[in-house]
């Protein structure tokens, strides 16, 4: 366990260092979700009750879906070069390689989350600290799972990398829209709601909204936590298997 933590820290430090050395990119990444929040959030204001309470957790889930994709993309680049192979020959813990990489994206995401929450406060967002902390923890678990899945995809996509671009483009948007992140699915037709029910991300979105509303006993939190844990377990299992089979 100590080697796992040490290795995770090693990978995390490696990944975060370039961002810290050139913080311009980091600042830019803070801007994008804010843009979404204010353009979209203002549009929706009034349409779905208290829009900020509804929209802030949605934006955070959306970011938790896209952040692991970008860490998968970074891994793909390293797979196509030789640096991934070089790391694979070290005794570095395999799971730590997956987790450490995603944790870098999640660290950026946490900063974004804090920023968004701080800016939404004066606009009428009510803060329930316990709910928000639990919600962010759930998103980290989700991110680790999705990160690992996107690494599996990256490994399967080498050497051309095409599969990665196709799948992320084709899958990401439907999953996003059907989870009710940006627009409420409940008002859609029955078939849309049925498809939404099959989307594990929907459960996480609902759980996040309950948590951010301070509704800590809502049953959807249980489902959301289960969905996040399942995705994490599946991702790490597949990720480890893919690396063991040869990269």
């Amino acid at each position: 366990m100590t080697t796992f933590l040490r290795d995770t820290a090693t990978v995390f430090t490696r990944e975060i260092t370039p961002a810290l050395r050139e913080p311009a990119g980091l600042l830019f990444s803070m801007g994008q979700p804010l843009l979404f929040l204010f353009l979209f959030g203002s549009l929706l204001d009034g349409a779905v009750g208290s829009s900020w309470q509804w929209f802030v957790p949605g934006i955070l889930v959306m970011m938790s879906l896209t952040a692991p994709m970008s860490s998968g993309y970074l891994m793909l680049v390293e797979l196509l070069g030789g640096s991934m192979e070089r790391l694979m020959v070290t005794p570095l813990n395999r799971t730590a390689m997956l987790v450490g990489r995603t944790m870098k994206e999640m660290a950026v995401l946490l900063c974004q989350a804090v920023l968004i929450i701080l800016l939404a406060l004066p606009l009428g967002f009510r803060l329930y600290p316990a709910g928000v902390l639990a919600g962010l923890a759930m998103l980290i678990v989700l991110g680790v799972g999705l990160g690992a899945l996107s690494f599996v995809l990256a490994i399967k996509s080498a050497p051309s990398g095409n599969l990665f671009y196709v799948v992320t483009q084709v899958v990401l948007f439907p999953v996003l829209l059907l989870s009710g992140v940006l627009l409420p699915v409940e008002t859609g037709p029955a078939w849309l709601r049925a498809v939404g029910q099959l989307n594990p991300i929907s459960y996480i979105v609902e759980a996040q909204r309950a948590l951010f509303a301070g509704d800590l006993t809502n049953l959807s939190i249980l489902y959301g936590t289960a969905a996040a844990c399942l995705i994490a377990a599946l991702g790490l299992w597949l990720g480890n298997r893919a690396m063991r089979r040869g990269v």
């Binding site: 040490r6 390293e78 640096s83 020959v89």
Partner: protein, 316 residues
């Protein structure tokens, strides 16, 4: 240091099984410098990837640095270094950062990893590049960085996959002088693949030739050349008639005639040539020119496979 038995790897390509490596047996003792030579697609890299635990073998076993590659891959990884065919440093990262990270990957404490990184920067003349990104380095500099990465944890055994491919002659010579110096300093066992014949010939103490997934020859470059190829004698005569007569006087040696040129292979040209010339003199054949050549490893490969190593082997 390396003991492999029946190492085999089968790849599935569109439902068709392709045997990339077919039952390789290999023993390498500590301190050796072994060159693994063969044409592209012979199975060099696949063998290397199995020995370095990147790829599980389909069948067969191997112990590397005293650990079993299947049962204790982490133990193998901790004891070996590996310089892959591609560049090992990530594009987003600074040279020194990658060296420190790599030390940390082997469990070195931060201060120690830092110290080793600095030591290697000096050793491989990379100090001025410490804060640059790999993309801004020349091919030779990147290769030196790869070697530095492979050495951070001072492995007892270092694998190098085509360490000098794609480099200009000057950078190649530089990379080699570094490799040999490091070997002297640390006594590292070196196992490298190459398709540069001269390199295997001049640098390695032992040459293992692989073709079509199997080892077809194993020995010192000198030994292989003497046993499998032999020296070449080339003479020219004034007329084709005389050339034909001369070709008939070679006894056991393999001979070929082309116009007025006669080529033959003998075990030792230095002693065989004077004797041959005397024989020809005695029967009245006038020899215009005579020369001898030592065989190359390509001659060895040609003898073994009927193909030339350089035929299908375009450096990438």
């Amino acid at each position: 240091m390396i003991h492999a038995r029946g190492l085999t790897r089968v790849f599935k390509l569109k439902k068709e099984a392709v045997e990339a490596v077919r039952g390789i047996d290999l023993d390498v003792e500590a301190g050796q410098l072994v060159a693994f030579l063969g044409p592209n697609g012979a199975g060099k890299s696949t063998t290397l990837r199995m020995l370095t635990t990147l790829l599980p073998p389909t069948s067969g076993t191997a112990t590397v640095a005293g650990r079993d590659i299947a049962h204790d891959p982490a133990g193998v990884r901790a004891r070996i270094g590996y310089v892959g065919q591609k560049n090992g440093a990530g594009e987003n990262f600074r040279v020194r950062d990658e060296l420190v990270t790599h030390g940390r990957c082997y469990g070195l404490a931060p201060a120690e990893a830092s110290r080793r990184a600095d030591e290697l920067l000096d050793l491989l003349d990379l100090r001025p590049l410490a804060h640059r990104k790999p993309g801004t380095l020349s091919g030779g500099q990147r290769r030196r960085l790869d070697i530095a990465l492979g050495l951070v944890h001072r492995p007892e055994l270092l694998f190098l996959d085509e360490p000098s491919t794609g480099l200009d002659p000057k950078s190649r010579a530089e990379v080699w002088s570094h490799i040999l110096r490091l070997r002297e300093a640390y006594g590292t066992t070196l196992f490298l693949t190459t398709h540069y014949l001269e390199e295997a010939d001049s640098m390695a103490e032992r040459v293992v030739i692989i073709d079509n997934g199997g080892i077809i020859a194993d020995g010192t470059a000198e030994g292989l050349k003497n046993d499998l190829a032999g020296d070449r004698i080339t003479i020219t005569t004034a007329t084709e008639q005389e050339a034909a007569t001369a070709a008939g006087m070679t006894g056991e040696a393999a001979v070929e005639v082309e116009g007025t040129t006669v080529r033959l292979r003998v075990a030792n040209a230095a002693t065989a040539l004077p004797e041959y010339l005397r024989t020809l003199e005695a029967i009245g054949v006038k020899v215009a020119t005579a020369e001898t050549a030592r065989p190359t490893l390509d001659d060895v490969f040609l003898t073994l496979t009927g193909r030339s190593l350089t035929d299908d082997d375009i450096p990438t």
